[in-house]
Amino acid sequence: MTAPDRDVAQAAATPDPDLAREAIEYCYEQGWTDGLPVVPASEGLLEQFLAHTGRSPDEVLWRMDHLDRECTVRTAAINAAMAGCLPEYFPIVLGAWDAVMRDRAAKGGGWQSTSGPAPLIVINGPIRDELGINSTGGIFAAGFRPNATIPRALGLMLRNAFGVVPHVFDQTTQGIPGRWAICFGENEEESPWESLAVETGLEPGANAVSCTLTRTYEFVDNRHTQDAEQLLADFADTLSRTGSLIFRGQSAGVVFCPEHAQMLAGAGYSKGDVKDWFIQHVGRAEADLRRAGKDGVSGSGPGARSASESERAPADEFTPFFSARKDVPIIVAGARNAAISMVFRVFGEWSNTSVEIEPAPVTAAKGG
């Protein structure tokens, strides 16, 4: 091969960045993006995505009757491709959508809520390693393609299939930082407890995805004690904030780092024991709620607004925030390098289920 031949061959092998940019700008002009560039999806790329599911391209994943819009498997595939997913991620995108739509809040208009809730996507099973899904250091940070693109696919589906765009049908007041970027594997290898998927009824080793809508995330950094009750009390303090209270009955969970989880397990706490401890200790005295104007959620109060004199409970009466284990989802993820965990608040009510990830058809698994 002569030198000019080599130049021609090299040029043919290198994608043309100007052409790529032109296609990306075209997508912006159509209003298809969330503000970041999307991957222009060709028919060929769409076929690769569809080859990774046994579901019909025309199957309707969800229909929003009030908006007269629906999302098919094909539309989901286009948006997953635009989000930057690899075709191999598509069964997880479908599973995450199915999982979150088991939430009563998601079915009831939560996607358009002024809260601007974020889907929290948790993945279990060997698929984490197979696809390079991060479950250790930096689970809430950037740097891993499936973690970044799978939740983004859900955001683009909302936008492009259902037309839920900001300032119109998306009525978000402020929203959640990283609204379309919260997805990670559970760190099953360093968790002392059964996985989230097993806890919710799936077989050990199953590939599964769980998803719920969430409101806030707040860290608990406690490298200060070796006493399990003190550690739990530190979590309970963060879980007992009044600011996030809206109605009577709350749901909030913890993404425990391995160090905290192992410390609690070492002291004899099962996952259920930790939930029970929180059910008993997370809440506020009537006087605290009254100070914040939220005494309506306690006693015989009206719920969402401040209580009148006759509705008020005694000042020292304790109002627990949780009533059942399902109100307190617990996940173990992150690195075992510091005792830093994350408290999160569920937007409505988690379905307390996981969805088994559909295996790709044999042709796709062989790269067909």
Binding site: H66, L67, D68, R69, F169, R305, S308
Partner: protein, 57 residues
């Protein structure tokens, strides 16, 4: 239909998507969520005539 003024854009978009552009509805000042029952009653009294007129059209 009555909505608070903060939701006019969404209400109009909703009317469009349901095939009823220009659908007439009433508005009340925002916010509503924190009002006491008495304040809600005052709002209702203030808008009652407009509701009657709109329903009669």
């Amino acid at each position: 239909m009555i909505c608070s003024e903060a939701f006019i854009t969404t209400a109009n978009a909703m009317a469009d998507v349901r095939g009823a552009p220009g659908y007439r509805y009433l508005t009340t000042p925002h916010p509503v969520a924190g009002l006491t029952p008495d304040q809600v009653r005052q709002r209702a009294e203030a808008i009652a005539d407009q509701v009657s007129r709109l329903l009669a059209q």
